[in-house]
């Protein structure tokens, strides 16, 4: 199970709950095994199995709760993002505090968090992300851009609060 650790990490970030993540990973492998005939050799296995995991999440109680309250299509939330003033020095400071970035990731919407993780942690290409999330490449680029902006804003705000307190 070469992708086991990565799928587990991704599932934990999606669900924010280790028990739910374990159920999700187990369900993913079971579905992948039973549906392996639907996998076309030569296509991307990684995108295929991440797609299974994500669909399982969207059908889970947490996923359904999320999709019923927040639209996954966050194309119109740009105006609500606070502006973060970033400098290389401040980012460097953030980098030293991995927990701050982790907290920032937790504050993002699921759609923003998952696309950042697929791009930065899983190092998927835009094409792989598009295939995994079943969205056009143009949407991948715009969603990634907003997710990065939102993370910078979240980290910047937390840092400001830390300095005030």
């Amino acid at each position: 199970m070469p992708l086991f650790e990565r799928l587990y990490n991704f599932a934990c970030w999606l669900t924010q709950d280790r028990h739910e993540a374990e159920d999700l990973v187990q369900e993913t492998y079971a579905k992948a095994l039973h549906g392996f005939s639907s996998f076309r050799p030569g296509t991307n296995f990684r995108a295929w199995i991440y797609k299974i995991l994500r669909n399982a999440f969207l059908n889970s109680r947490t996923g359904l709760k999320y999709t019923s309250t927040v639209s996954l299509d966050d194309e119109h939330d740009e105006a609500s993002l606070p502006v973060a003033e970033e400098t290389p020095e401040s980012i460097l400071l953030h980098r030293a505090d991995s927990r701050l970035v982790q907290q920032g990731l937790e504050r993002l919407t699921v759609a923003q968090r998952e696309i950042l993780l697929l791009c930065e942690v899983e190092e998927m290409t835009y094409q792989e992300i598009a295939s995994t999330l079943a969205i056009p490449i143009g949407t991948v680029m715009s969603r990634l851009s907003r997710a990065r902006q939102a993370l910078r804003a979240a980290v910047g705000n937390m840092q400001s609060n830390q300095m005030k307190s």
């Binding site: 187990q26 492998y29 030569g42 970033e86 950042l116 290409t125 094409q127 910078r152």
Partner: protein, 248 residues
């Protein structure tokens, strides 16, 4: 082009998604623009910070064992159900013989792919993945002299996203060969090289394949059979194959 137009492209540039036609002009712009250079530095640091922070959760051994058990159980069940009727009579035996004879080769190829995936995983899992550690092809190639019964060329990787990590001797079907380890971004690719005559006819493998979630490319060159295995996109393997083929 003004900075405002370039800044929109910086994320795609850092993600390796900017078309080559735009990469060169942007490289040139960055050499002379301190604002864009500072911005790109902050973006790189943010990417690194997300990468470090994103690798947060590790499954424990008990959960791994549980999943392994759960996915292996149905397979055993089907196996026993498949073989039980074989004892029913010679007619079924003949059918199975025909099945084995007609599908023998793909199964053999599949086993080979699994062996290669296993070799690659074993390399990644090892504390010492390679025996000659060098990014210099002129160091790695001579290391194999006297260790394997053939020679091959290591590709020039300058101006490519690949880095040579090193190499070691490998064995496949009791035949000695070479394993070269390459890195692209955070991924590692094993390239196995064996004498084609030692492995038999494997032309069926020239198509794109995958095994155990790994992408695989296989090709023949100068009497040698090459296999490139990794968890990267197929395009990366194609590009590495082109570089190796160009090395002759």
């Amino acid at each position: 082009m003004a900075c405002e137009l370039w800044t929109k492209e910086l994320d795609a540039y850092l993600d390796g998604e900017l078309p080559e036609s735009e990469t060169l002009p942007l490289d040139q712009h960055l050499k002379g623009c301190t604002d864009c250079t500072a911005l790109i530095l902050s973006k790189v640091q943010m990417k690194q910070a997300i990468r470090a922070a994103g690798k947060r959760y590790q499954p424990d051994a008990a959960f791994r064992a549980k999943v392994q058990q759960s996915i292996s159980r149905p397979a055993r069940f089907r196996f026993s159900r498949l073989w039980f009727p074989l004892l029913a009579g010679p007619l079924v035996l003949v059918a199975v013989l025909i099945f084995v004879l007609t599908l023998g080769r793909p199964r053999s190829d599949d086993r080979l792919l699994s062996e290669l995936a296993d070799l690659h995983v074993a390399t990644l899992a090892s504390a010492n993945p390679v025996d000659v550690v060098s990014s210099d092809r002129h160091t790695v190639k001579p290391w194999f002299a006297g260790k394997i019964p053939f020679t091959f060329n290591v590709p020039e990787l300058q101006d490519s996203p690949f880095t040579l990590v090193g190499g070691k001797a490998a064995y496949l079907r009791q035949s000695p060969g070479a394993e070269l380890l390459f890195r692209v971004r955070q991924h590692q690719i094993s390239v196995f090289i064996f004498q084609e005559r030692a492995l038999g006819n494997l032309r069926g493998l020239d198509e794109m394949k995958n095994a155990e979630s790994f992408n695989l490319r296989s090709w023949s060159q100068n009497g040698l059979r090459y296999f490139a295995v990794g968890d990267v996109a197929g395009q990366d393997l194609d590009r590495l194959r082109d570089l190796i083929e160009a090395a002759g």
